[in-house]
Symmetry: C2
Subunit: 347 residues, 2 copies
């Protein structure tokens, strides 16, 4: 079933209007597994355009009755640690060993990227996965903002899950803020480490280690084997410093080589154990509920903010008060009172 | 100079109205170092009453021309680590060695305290400090909320600073959230550790180690000396795992005994070095500016939220949408759209 090329299109996605005659055709096409339709649906939910919002909501709503559940896995690690190679190896093993598995690979691309360009823009880094019939590799959308609320990536994950993908991998670039954001989007965060130890050689930002559910030291092959094992030992020692809550998951630290496949069996086991532990303890469900609540309340807070900020004159006056605060001439509390007075008059 | 007992009083603080005939008398009294006046001023800025806000703002505003600058130090550590003993020892040494020093001791008391009662409620824990003429020990206000914005403690610190206190110590209970909050309020965060090592014995919550500027293992005396040194060595190893930014401060890990005073000289040195490093590198000023900006924007966001939330019917409808999200029947983005529609009509 092909879409009528003469349909009215949105600026971004080429998806018919909700409720219109072609809307359900598109939904059926999407549900059938059509990759082009999925690509357009992702473009829609990732869109920042105000005009695309109602349509994105309608799409999520029409799919919300889906009973599919995916294992959402975040992959984090500094540039050069081998995230793409790891995803290619992990993904191909998964699809070969589980004939029912379907894998989607997405990326969180912080807007303040120092590197420029999209993370997965070079699809050839996942040569086999990107052409596998049961995999969908999504190049990172350019310019997606990653503030407090990450509707784009959040909804992209939900979309893939509802369409029956059994595994959704979310790659992040290791710049700190994106890890915190992705932690709120996945069931399990895998942190990849370098086979290097001590004195900050890992290049890990503060607070990232604490977010990981499974840690794997990469490149544990050939001459780097020993360094990888030392790094794993150091990471275990660092983790032992933090208190464990009752019945908490003990974060395993493994060594793997995505290149040779060494250690990948143990990693599969660790992910399986994590999943079973999280399901049995109720933490799986708790985490998803917490994530949904956070998305709702933070989204609402952001939405209310936008209601004011977009009114003429407000933002520039707010910025003026911020400047006073920055220069230290006005106390923050006093400045807030003044800024709110303005908002009260405009509300 | 005594306040006229027949003055009109606010519910909370007994402070005359701004602009009224007795207002400047009170300000002069406060500036003269009167402790009772300071106590009432702190009660005012810590008040959560809507009606106290304009007066608290006026007080901060009238003092804002003060050129005094204090060294704001946060003290964190789990219950039993000896925070009060440490403050008593540190404070008395400071006052004895520096005749010009004036010390204020405040506390951040998370509203969700599991322990009940106020942190510093038992002033006798700081026997010498609490009666020292150049010290002011503030019992923690009961029921102070510690959400995203901590006006109360924030303004209390600002007040003490503007009244000429050279050092402001802020004690936190080690429950995670309060450390993050206090980190946004101080120039330097000191983390006290137990003389115990490995497997979470420290009882530190995830992410706290990363906030510390100076770490000291307490109770390094008598039979615990060796355990304290081992704990310090473990802490150093754990810290080495995180990447350092350029020109970053290397967090020193010391061993001290607040009981015997052992190691307190080295700790003084560490705090001095931190202060000089922060001033010379510009980080001191950057951190204060960042804190003020955060207080302003977060306070504004919270204020806008309150504008809506306090309108009849809004909160209950928002909670209903939240319940739908929690149960998984409605997508968070869809729920936010619906909740915003309601706010738009009410705005």
């Amino acid at each position: 079933m092909a879409l009528n090329p003469n349909l009215p299109k949105t600026a971004n996605s080429g998806i018919p209007s909700p409720g219109g005659p072609d809307w359900m055709d598109f939904v059926v096409l999407l549900k059938s597994g059509d990759r082009a339709a999925l690509g357009r649906a992702l473009t829609l939910v990732e869109s920042n355009l105000e005009t695309d919002r109602p349509k994105a909501s309608a799409l999520l709503d029409v799919l919300s009755s889906s009973a599919h559940t995916a294992f959402r896995i975040g992959i984090s690690g500094i540039p050069g640690v081998g995230k793409s190679t790891w995803i290619e190896t992990y993904g191909m093993r998964l699809l070969e060993q589980h004939p029912d598995a379907r894998l989607a690979v997405l990326a969180v691309d912080p807007s303040s990227s120092v590197r420029g360009g999209s993370l997965l823009g070079d699809k050839t880094r996942m040569e086999k996965l990107s052409v596998h019939p049961r995999a969908f590799v999504r190049p990172s959308p350019a310019g997606t903002s990653l503030g407090g609320v990450t509707w784009g990536t959040r909804d992209a994950i939900a979309l893939c899950e509802r369409l029956g993908y059994t595994h959704v991998l979310v790659e992040t670039v290791g710049v700190g803020q994106s890890e915190t954001a992705v932690h709120d989007l996945v069931d399990c965060l895998v942190l990849l480490l370098m086979p290097a130890s001590g004195d900050g050689l890992q290049g890990i930002k503060k607070g990232i280690m604490e977010l990981a559910d499974v840690i794997a030291v990469q490149k544990a092959d050939g001459p780097l084997m020993e360094a990888a094992q030392q790094a794993a030992s150091d990471a275990r020692a660092a983790l032992r410093f933090t208190a464990l809550e009752e019945n908490a998951w003990t974060v395993p630290v493994l060594t793997v080589s995505a290149l040779t496949g060494g250690g990948m069996d143990a990693l599969d086991d660790a992910l399986d154990r994590f999943r079973r532990h999280a399901l049995a303890s109720g933490r799986w469900n708790d985490r998803r509920i917490m994530q949904r609540k956070k998305a709702y309340w933070e989204g609402l807070q952001r939405g209310l903010w936008d209601l004011f900020e977009n009114q003429p004159g407000i933002r520039s006056e707010w910025d003026q008060h911020a400047q006073d605060v920055l220069e230290g001439t006005v106390d923050p509390r006093v400045a807030v009172e003044r800024a709110l007075e303005l908002a009260r008059r405009k509300a």
